[in-house]
Point group: D2
Chain length 110, copies 4
Amino acid sequence: MHHLSEEMQACIEQCLKCYATCLSMASGHCLEAGGEHVEPKHFRLMLACAEMCRASAHLMLLGSPQHRQSCAACAEICRECAEDCERVGDMEACVAACRACAESCRAMAA
Amino acid sequence: MHHLSEEMQACIEQCLKCYATCLSMASGHCLEAGGEHVEPKHFRLMLACAEMCRASAHLMLLGSPQHRQSCAACAEICRECAEDCERVGDMEACVAACRACAESCRAMAA
Amino acid sequence: MHHLSEEMQACIEQCLKCYATCLSMASGHCLEAGGEHVEPKHFRLMLACAEMCRASAHLMLLGSPQHRQSCAACAEICRECAEDCERVGDMEACVAACRACAESCRAMAA
Amino acid sequence: MHHLSEEMQACIEQCLKCYATCLSMASGHCLEAGGEHVEPKHFRLMLACAEMCRASAHLMLLGSPQHRQSCAACAEICRECAEDCERVGDMEACVAACRACAESCRAMAA
């Protein structure tokens, strides 16, 4: 990844971290906790956020200028996921990862 | 997929078809042809388009309302990929799949 | 995909169909139904099966001889997913897609 | 990811690192270098390895016991990719990431 700018390398790392956090918390925490954690709206958003982060990391790893489009979409979805995880509660790691990724993606999309 | 609207099912199919066409043509046609077909800008766009189509299909399969963001990004990337495949030439199947997917995604993003 | 053998094209289609069926039923049916449908073991297996089908389709679309490894893994995971969906019940579309994909992948792995 | 074993967390990191290294080197190094670096066999193996690493990380993040199947496939594909990158030359980062990932996946598959 050393041919990519430092800012882009940092955004790739935020995206992969947010992907890993959302997916592992959905599967390892939400499915075990049940209740509000598996309400369809919340759970789908977690999985959608994981996928969008993964795709944005992929376009940046490719070095494709089209990462601007995916990062813009990713920033918005991460923002919504952070809000929803805060609403549900007991999802601090996810809130933090989504916020950091949203900020980084917003900068990359500009 | 029967709980999803017919329009969304059709867009999922366009996205998966465009994903499969871009990836298999990049690997099976462009790598064999060489020359302009493996110029970095073109080849990266093919792989970026494949990934974005895959991600948009994923969000629609999840039934996530956030597919609007991914479909907007996908419509734009497919449009650029169709144009670039037309420029390079001998990529008709890819041009057609990208155009159809761009149109379908644009409607889903609205 | 026309440069790929007919058998491989058919297996790619089975994998993409099984991916789409598992993911959309997990999100659109299991999350709505609740109860046994969101027990962690079952839900994780649905998502794992979707991912493995997606990856196997990807390797075949690339025309990579390494699809033998991914198809062998995919055949086994689809077999387990079909069994578990039968146990939980009311998942006929998933059982059928997993069985067909398992059989097709087993043949491609040989 | 804190509910997963330390060994599994380490393997997830190796898989994501190998995915990122293979994909970014294929796109940022091989496409620029041309020649042997874009010979179909080599380039497809790089992309296949990236995808299989991504899928194995995914199954481990889900906490799915089926990661045994994907890690077994991944270990074998990473071994082949390391060898092929060594043959082509000037791919040290990829050789190292593939070797480390193969070893880690082999242990997780056992």
